[in-house]
């Protein structure tokens, strides 16, 4: 897989370099390696030299569509490498008219899921030296002996739940699509919480949210959080206080999640970036699940032409309260 990945990187470079060096795009958003083998970070490539650093591997978790809102202010046309979730994020931005379709070239990358360093060290120990990937398995290289694991078990939580690994919107698909997946356990965590009593649920959330630092990484990384002024910074009325009280934690997290009703693309970036491990996707998925149950199946970001469920209605809609 190591070889395959490198091969894939070569292919990606080839595909984008024509457009970048030929002047069809001014900027390419891709990934390059960070300090560690388990980190790949955003690359803003403008030249052949920049492109040398481009990689496409199992750690390219960062969603690059998020940068379009700002970068389109400075660049006429931008190329973006998109995984399945990044493409849905792009659709989300299109739907909110944050980006113009014709100013972006999307290079589609069917995504086998990104690996989770925390999972890798859980299995391979903290002195894990590296990994080798071979069709669907990962060999963990430790100081003593190597350990082989199914790749699927080492994915980021969000990727284990991914149903659409292939980009749903693209100008050029770079590899053979992988096909949609069934994820029967998608709502499992939500259902488990639903089975608890109201008090148990409250205790659970009060504790989980108590770790919140209010760093707003969940908001900054989110493809539906594109408001010019967030309610958090609104001054009059002042909705969000800065204290770390439970009441303020609930205000932020409930409103943040609720603003994603029918708009959350289920990419899990918020949960991935949360430095204190708050299970944000349980809130987001609860809303997805309820909207599906009440107003019909809807997956945000799949089809930008389909109206988001909270922007429309039917006269005979059901309600979650008694209408007598």
């Amino acid at each position: 897989m190591e070889e395959q990945i490198s091969e894939q990187t070569v292919k990606v470079k080839k595909a984008v370099s024509q457009d970048l060096l030929g002047g069809r795009i001014d900027l390419l958003l891709g990934w390059e390696k960070g300090h560690y083998w388990w980190q790949s970070r955003p690359l803003f490539a403008r030249s052949e030299k920049d492109l040398e650093r481009l990689v496409w591997d199992s750690f390219c978790a960062v969603n690059l569509s998020r940068y379009l809102q700002d970068e389109l202010k400075e660049n006429k046309k931008i190329g973006v490498l998109v995984k399945g979730c990044d493409a849905r994020a792009f659709n989300r931005l299109l739907q909110d008219r944050i980006v113009e379709r014709e100013r972006v070239i999307l290079y589609g990358l069917p995504c086998p899921g990104m690996l989770d360093y925390a999972r890798l060290t859980e299995e391979g120990g903290s002195d894990l030296e590296g990994i080798i990937e071979q069709d669907g398995t990962v060999i963990l290289q430790t100081k003593e002996e190597n350990k082989e694991m199914p790749r699927e078990e080492l994915l980021l939580a969000r990727c284990r739940n991914c149903m659409h690994p292939d980009p749903v919107v693209y100008d050029q698909m770079l590899f053979t699509p992988l096909g949609d997946r069934e994820r029967p356990e998608h709502f499992k965590a939500v259902e488990e919480l639903e089975r608890l009593s109201a008090d148990e649920r409250y205790t659970y959330w009060e504790k989980e949210l108590s770790r919140c630092l209010r760093c707003y990484a969940c908001r900054q990384v989110c493809p539906y959080c594109s408001c010019l002024e967030c309610f958090v910074e609104q001054k009059s009325p002042r909705w969000q206080g800065r204290a770390y009280q439970p009441s303020e934690n609930f205000m932020f997290h409930l409103v943040r999640a609720y603003h994603g009703t029918g708009r959350c693309i289920d990419c899990g970036e918020c949960e991935r970036v949360c430095p204190v491990g708050i299970p944000l996707m349980e809130l987001n998925r609860k809303l997805i699940k309820d909207i599906n149950e009440l107003y019909g199946h809807y997956e945000a970001g799949l089809d930008p032409e389909q109206e988001p469920p909270l922007l429309t209605y039917r006269p005979d809609d059901p309600a979650a309260f008694s209408e007598k």
Partner: protein, 158 residues
Amino acid sequence: MSAALNDPATGWEPLIVAFCCNWCSYAGGDLAGTSRMNYPANVKVIRVPCSGRINPMFILRAFQRGADGVLVAGCHPGDCHYSTGNYHSRRRLSAFKRILEFVGLEPERFEVRWISASEGDKFAEEMEAMTGKIKALGPNRKMRDARWKSKSLSKQLK
């Protein structure tokens, strides 16, 4: 609410905040009043132009500042003064009610009701029913800001 009324030791009474649509439910409340129907004094009515005006932050703010229950009341679906406001709020508030319950709020503490301008009796009944349910549940502590102190009664009467 005065501090005394809110203190369980001295005879706690629930505080219910009711956001009422100007065109139907608020008028329904008026009718209940002018028809001399009794409904509990625990309900503080806030008039809004339409149930579609309700931002979920209003509801959270009410709970933060000591509401034991929150009710949103609007025109019956199909009767919205702005034609579709309550169709939208039905979807939004349904989603919001579910997420409130998901983080542990008892279902009885947040309700939505459709009450028309002619349904003074329904207005009074709903207020009665909600007050009864909240009384049975007891004071709400969830999402309430422990730092919030009730204002003195004299200031409120101003």
